[in-house]
Symmetry: C2
DNA sequence: GAAGATAGCGAACGGTCGTACGTTATCTGA
DNA sequence: TCAGATAACGTACGACCGTTCGCTATCTTC
């Protein structure tokens, strides 16, 4: 009975891969089934509908980001050095991206931001909780650093923006200097280079 | 004979509007024709194909951005106050966006970054020339400001990133404090608040 | 007022979309 | 050994996709 679960994750993984290239909208049941060598019915079956498959893919992509950027911090106490590592991991994630079409969360955000529905709601909560977590990391680091400081919320916006800009430079412009520039800009924005 | 031209721009305008909500991929000939009260053939005819219609829409959206953010600077000499005005206009553009689904260029960038083709090429050149223009503005402003300065390229990346993050906060998160935060972060990143 | 260009329509095409439904192998437990 | 559950299949469906092609109004211009 665990067979179904393995199939499910196999499908979700392929869906994330495909949707990262073509967008959530661009992912079709037929092409994904063909790619996995199964029937359309067998592909959608475990999820109920294409929409729910997309939800599962979105959730999985969030976990990929989380395990690449957030989880490696677990053995460090909050503070300056943990924010240092977070930024390093984040840039590495962008430079050597687990998604073939660039950061999935960023792409999904652009695609879904004007389309109300469960997908958008799910994404919004992912983004909101990431922002909160990031704000806490920034505040903890600032407490260890000499002031004055920018408001943590502003630093969060700047860091997220830099990740988006770096993603564009890497994916669209194919600029090899993007990761280094992003790292330095992030460290500066976080007050880590003083 | 100018009738055709007026129809063309009418179609392009509607296409930009629709694609800003649904994405370039999500724009279909049928729905756009229905919305404009014309036939599918009559809609695509002036462009040759849907793809070429999308190209025209992409070009038009670039012009909208340009006329909202860059053209108002024409009567100012390069330098600090011109960068001030650029940032103000940019945030206004994001906060009160001419596209119903948020900044079109940002959305198109996410959507096209992994899909080679003429659309991607066109977008890439739009982004590249905007970056160059922006770098020149930053350099001119820095020349009027007390040092030390971050590299102009890094400032450009930060400003573009902040526009993307603000766009997300406005469109996806619907955060009313986003424009103010973006304005302050941009002014800080550009060294204008010292 | 006839001839020709222009601009858009309407119908049809082959193809693909997502979904529904009944069927069939394959495993599981009594 | 055999009944039942499981997991995926194949087929069919109606809807919509983008494109093609011939037609028809509506204007110009002689």
């Amino acid at each position: 009975m665990a067979e179904a679960e393995r199939t499910r994750t196999r499908i979700v993984r392929a869906a994330v891969d495909e949707a990262s290239r073509l967008g959530l909208e661009g992912l079709t049941v037929g092409s994904l089934a063909r790619r996995l060598g199964m029937s359309k019915a067998g592909l959608v079956g475990p999820f109920g509908s294409r929409e729910q498959l997309l939800e599962a893919a979105l959730e999985h992509s969030g976990k990929i980001f989380w395990s690449a950027v957030i989880e490696p911090l677990a053995d460090l106490p909050p503070g300056r050095s943990r924010l240092e590592r977070l930024i390093a991991a984040w840039v590495d994630y962008l430079a050597d991206c687990p998604f073939p079409g660039g950061c999935f969360v960023t792409a999904a955000s652009s695609e879904l931001d004007g389309r109300p529905g469960p997908l958008r709601d799910r994404l919004r909560s992912t983004v909101t909780s990431s922002r909160e977590r990031l704000a806490a990391e920034v505040a903890a680091a600032q407490a260890e650093l000499p002031g004055p400081h920018r408001p943590p919320e502003e630093v969060v916006t700047t860091l997220i923006g830099l990740s988006m800009a770096a993603n564009q430079e890497i994916q669209l412009l194919e600029d090899p200097s993007a990761p280094t520039r992003a790292r330095e800009a992030m460290r500066h924005a976080a007050g880590l280079d003083r």
